[in-house]
């Protein structure tokens, strides 16, 4: 039933999923982290108070988060094509995955940074710390466990999204599950892909929890 060719297909699909999720997570963090920092620090009474910018950023993040992934993916096909030259395949799938994850990351980062004790930030201000120093030396280190968990959550979410991306030719485990498991009635393939997805999610979550726990020095 499961022959060598099948196994190698499963292996390739797993790798594709990991590449999509990994790149998507990294790219979304690179953009979403600063966006989240800006979102927090421009809020009223925060260190870079900018009410207009804050509201605009918050609006963009909310809009981005309210568009269902499957629609976003189709809607930005022209943009994806411009960027990677094609709208099919693993590389192309990374674009919508990243775009969808950026506002998600930004909101999670915002949430994590808001949890940093205002008193600690005030203490740093009282010592003459500049806003960049407060961000890099106080807010990020203090929120680091929560930030790690935010990235973990993003990666887990992107695993789900990547399966959706598979349905429009994005490659990876979702693609395999639909083409073989569903369209060719291969229940066994479907089952194996689901099992691999479960293992991936578990593995990523466990890794994230472990790192966060190591970094956690609060009460």
């Amino acid at each position: 039933m499961i022959n060598q060719a099948m196994l190698s297909m499963l292996w390739d699909a797993t790798l594709d999923t990991l590449i999509m999720v990994g790149s998507g997570t990294i790219l979304a963090t690179v953009v979403g982290l600063p966006a989240g920092i800006l979102l927090t620090t421009t809020a009223p009474n925060h260190i870079l108070e900018q009410p207009l910018l804050h509201r605009a950023l918050g609006g963009i993040v909310n809009i981005g988060r309210s568009i269902p992934f499957i629609i976003l993916m189709v809607a930005i096909i022209p943009f994806t094509r411009k960027l990677v030259g094609t709208s099919i395949g693993t590389a192309a799938a990374i674009v919508p995955l990243t775009v969808a994850a950026i506002p998600f990351v930004a909101r999670l980062v915002d949430g994590a940074l808001k949890e940093v004790d205002a008193g600690v930030i005030e203490a740093a201000e009282s010592m003459g710390a500049s806003p960049p120093q407060i961000i890099y030396k106080v807010m990020i280190p203090e929120a680091l466990p929560a930030l790690v968990l935010a990235v973990t959550l993003t990666a887990v979410n992107l695993i789900g999204y990547s399966a959706m991306a598979g349905s429009i030719g994005g490659g990876g485990l979702g693609d395999l599950a639909i083409r073989y498991g569903y369209q060719r009635f291969r229940g066994d393939i479907m089952l194996i892909t689901v099992i691999i997805l479960v293992i991936l999610v578990q593995g990523i979550q466990m890794l994230g929890d472990k790192i966060a726990h190591k970094l956690y020095h609060h009460n």
């Binding site: 004790d117 008193g119 005030e122 009282s126 010592m127 003459g128 009460n219």
Partner: protein
């Protein structure tokens, strides 16, 4: 050292709060200066105006000759590096060890690794935490956390230390040890300390001078011994009443319709038999309800709650007699 000239600050939100309504205050260098008031009196705002964590709406504040409200950005950060601050909830960085917490202001000030190492070691020694340098704040008790806070505040050798309810989250024993540490620092480093508190005992234990803040106004200010023994403002009398009668209210103390007096003796007056003279001369009965001899930083003073029974004119004469003998008299139930 610090001068407030007609400083006002209003917070407008859902309800408008006039935190400071024209503060005039001078804080001499080298003193431990206490600001006491109930919650909502504006103490916290007053303290934060000194290092511009809160910007006053009007008026001016001078610290060491510098007009603080003129400073902005870089200059303000430079000025803040010369002022230490400690907090009720310590506000340590949980992600950093004790060593790293004390080193934090030194990093901000651009000290070299080697200088940081030396400076942190000497500070840890000063506050008695040499064996805790590798611990994280969560592994420390409240008193130890505040010692880290103090070491951190002193790291850049400031001339001024601001204490924001620094002992309010600590138990009485730890409070005393932290207060003693502040006293030592004040004497050894010639550091001016401004502390705000709602606890009379804190003022009593270490302050040289005190300002009583109520409803955004300094009701009175002066040496602790004067304000505590001869409170002039209604606000100070109200606050002191509870403090000096160990929590008993006049209602609780009074069982009859007799006149209830609070008598305060300072220095050598505490040693003279004034009460018995009063009883003999004016033929009245006196019942002592509560008494204490206390210390204001270094000066002794005594306090008595006395119930007087007799004819009204005799009582009036007795009160006059006490006042002639420099005993501070406050009638609690008139």
């Amino acid at each position: 050292m610090i001068r407030f000239n007609n400083v006002t600050k209003t917070f407008s939100g859902k309800t408008t709060v006039h935190a400071l309504r024209g503060i005039d205050l001078a804080i001499p260098a080298g003193e431990i200066f206490g600001v006491i008031g109930q919650s909502g009196a504006g103490k916290s705002t007053l303290l934060r105006c000194i290092n511009m964590l809160e910007r006053p709406d009007s008026g001016e504040i001078f610290v060491d000759g510098i007009r603080m409200s003129d400073l902005d950005g870089k200059e303000l950060r430079a000025a803040r590096k010369k002022t230490g601050m400690i907090f009720q909830h310590f506000n340590l960085l949980n992600s950093r060890t004790v060593f790293q917490n004390i080193a934090f202001p030194l990093e901000l000030a651009g000290y070299s690794k080697k200088n940081i190492l030396e400076r942190v070691a000497s500070l840890a020694n000063l506050v008695g935490l040499t064996d805790k340098l590798k611990s994280y704040p969560r592994q420390l008790s409240g008193g130890q956390k505040q010692r880290v806070g103090i070491a951190r505040a002193l790291a850049t050798q400031p001339k001024l230390l601001l204490c924001d309810e620094a002992t309010s989250a600590l138990d009485p024993e730890t409070t005393t040890s932290v207060l003693n540490l502040l006293k030592t620092i004040n004497e050894r480093l010639k550091l001016t300390i401004v502390l705000i508190t709602h606890e009379m005992a804190v003022i009593q234990q270490i302050c040289d001078s005190v300002a009583v803040l109520d409803d955004g106004v300094v009701q009175e200010a002066g040496p602790v011994i004067d304000v505590f023994t001869r409170p002039k403002s209604e606000a100070s009398q109200r606050m002191l009443r509870g403090f000096l009668t160990s929590g008993l209210t006049p209602d609780q103390l009074q069982r009859s319709g007799n006149t209830l007096l609070k008598l305060t003796f300072v220095d050598e007056k505490a040693h003279q038999p004034i009460i018995s003279q009063m009883i003999r001369r004016h033929q009245i009965d006196a019942n002592i309800l509560f008494g204490s001899i206390d210390q204001m930083k270094t000066k002794p003073f005594g306090m008595l709650l006395v119930e007087l029974a007799g004819k009204n004119e005799q009582i009036a004469q007795a009160i006059e007699f006490l006042q002639e003998n420099q005993v501070e008299v406050e009638v609690l139930n008139r």
